[in-house]
Amino acid sequence: MSTTVTTPIGSGEAAPGPRLNYLTNGHSLKSWLLTEDHKRIAILYLISVSFFFMLGGAFAGMIRYELTSPAGNVFESDAYNRIFTAHGAIMVFLFLLVAVPAVLGNFLVPLMIGARDLAFPRINLLSWYLYTAAGSLILISCISGGVDAGWTFYTPYSSLYSNSNVSLCLVGVFLGGFSSITTGVNFIATVHRMRAPGMTWFRLPLFVWAQYATGIIMMLGTPVVAITLLCVIFERTFQLPIFSPELGGDPVLFQHMFWFYSHPAVYIMVLPSFGVISEVISAFSRKRVFGYHFVAFSSLAIAFLGFLVWGHHMFVTSQSMYQGVAFSLVTFLLAVPSAIKIFNWTATMAKGNIHLNSPMIYAIGFMGLFLIGGLTGLFLAAMGMDVHLTATYFIVAHFHYVMVGGTVMGFLAGLHFWWPKMTGKLFNDNIAKWNAIVVFLGFNLTFFPQFIAGWMGMPRRYHYYYFAPEFQIYNILSTMGATVLGIGFVIPVIYLIKSLFTGAQAGDNPWGAHGLEWQTTSPPPTENFYYSPIITDDVYDYDPVAEHEAIRELGANRQH
């Protein structure tokens, strides 16, 4: 991208010698914990999010271990309830909802739009502290006694009957929601008002569009779940009856309000990943994203339509069947914008100059997994079939394909893609490539058998199935896959950390990608750009002559 040099930022004098970047600008613990730099906050988020991912993964391991035997004799039923609740709550509230927006979004949105920081840096730091507080509370509640209400906290179970640490956990989730809202508000204000001169709306990278749409969902949806869960806290701690059925309250209303947020929350998880995939596919196919406008608007369409389908989680409640039909239809409709994205990415790859680096392999894996997840979603959107499949492992497999296949693959793709920018170091791309394949295979081995078991009728949230030992083969396959998947998640931690110490210096643009964030140094300086960028050309403008150069450089920059 040709950026015109304008006024230097700062006091004007060029710094001699090695310039300070955001990592070297202060080494004390205080300079990290009280930082207002969006890039440092992203790193803080990266560390905490990875920690909770590993923790949630450990709980998943326990679930898989228990299910290898139909007898269910490792944990008591009560302990098993607490384990799957901990897995769900930690993964959903502390990893999936946060990972891509708070780590990659925080780091990249200002860089991509040519701003020096987010609009409200201090609130950004506050959001990390809120997240940490939320994480601590959920962690404490899960460890000291546990929570057995399931991550959905359905009343009256969570309000009246559960005697576990539900209130504490809910306070944690509430704080996490607050953190999410502050992030969303920050992104929206930033995208509206902080764009560099010349960065028009239709020159925004699709990643930024995705973050913007995510911000809208965070802003409109999160407060509703916050008040819903607050009502449960009221019921438990202040004895204020809100959803109490024995007094004439309506627990189904809780489900309505819960899913009014929690369906769009799926898009908080996958929309940012969509953004990552758009960037990665374009960069490694060396082509402009096919149908840029469609992809951009499909993000907004998903954000909006996502609010009109929540009832598909409630087909078997006492919900009106007429409303059920409407929800079913809108859910089918929602497949259209998601499909537009998949079509456009494939069209982008068509006749492109494809480089199979690790981010690209993750991105292609994402497309495969999300496709399966999305298509099985259509099974579940059909009311008749949903009655058969509700609360079986088919659901479990479906939402893992969407949420893990979507978010985790997108997160890993993005992390690998921007790792050289974030740290200034190159990692071992060969190992990363193989690892991407391991993750893809491990994932399918884990969750595909669950589709079959679920189709045969294996219920979720049960820790034994001695009444139907034919499920065992699928559970054993699944546990084997989970082991492979676990290894696939540990290996990147090793080689990425290793790259910090032994990795070669990454140039400003090691992938030869096209985008404002690649114009500045790696790692970027605290103020992001040494010169205020002015944008004069379109996004993803890969022109053939410059391409030739870039590809040659790319070869030279490779480690091997």
Binding site: T7, L160, I188, H192, R193, R195, P197, M199, L220, V224, Q239, P241, S244, E246, L247, G248, L253, H256, M257, F260, F307, L308, G311, S318, Q319, S320, Y322, Q323, A326
Partner: protein
Amino acid sequence: MAKSPLHAAEGHAHEIHPVSMYVRTALILAFFMVLTIVAAQVNFGEILTGHNRQYGYYVNNLVAVGIAAIKAFIVVMFFMHLKWASSTAKVWALMGFFFLPVLFSVFCDYGTRTHEQVDGWIPGQSETALPRVIGSRDQEHLDPRFANDQNRNPKSSLY
């Protein structure tokens, strides 16, 4: 520093308004406050006749919420200066009010249910599930099956 057109403020947000504008706004709000109290004393259910009487309750509620909405609009426009704010701020301010109806579309469900599960419902016996009519459930304790409910306080045994 050259100010790019992107960063130019859109409205005239920095206008200083006369004190009289604020006082006038407050007076109008006070008028509506009195109006809402007066309107609550008038019972449209008693004014309307015949079959229409049952709609009086809804007229009363519409009037009350309508007046509250007007008051909120006045506060938003004049006290909160939305009238002079940038169009982006206007869009965001409207966004919340636009999205509340989406949340309230929950009532499409409650309004179209054919049967409601109520106290005393025995699964499989449809005659124990009362046919649902909106706004009728407060009468259910007049039903002999709920006669004992008056003095029952289930909370006491559950907490």
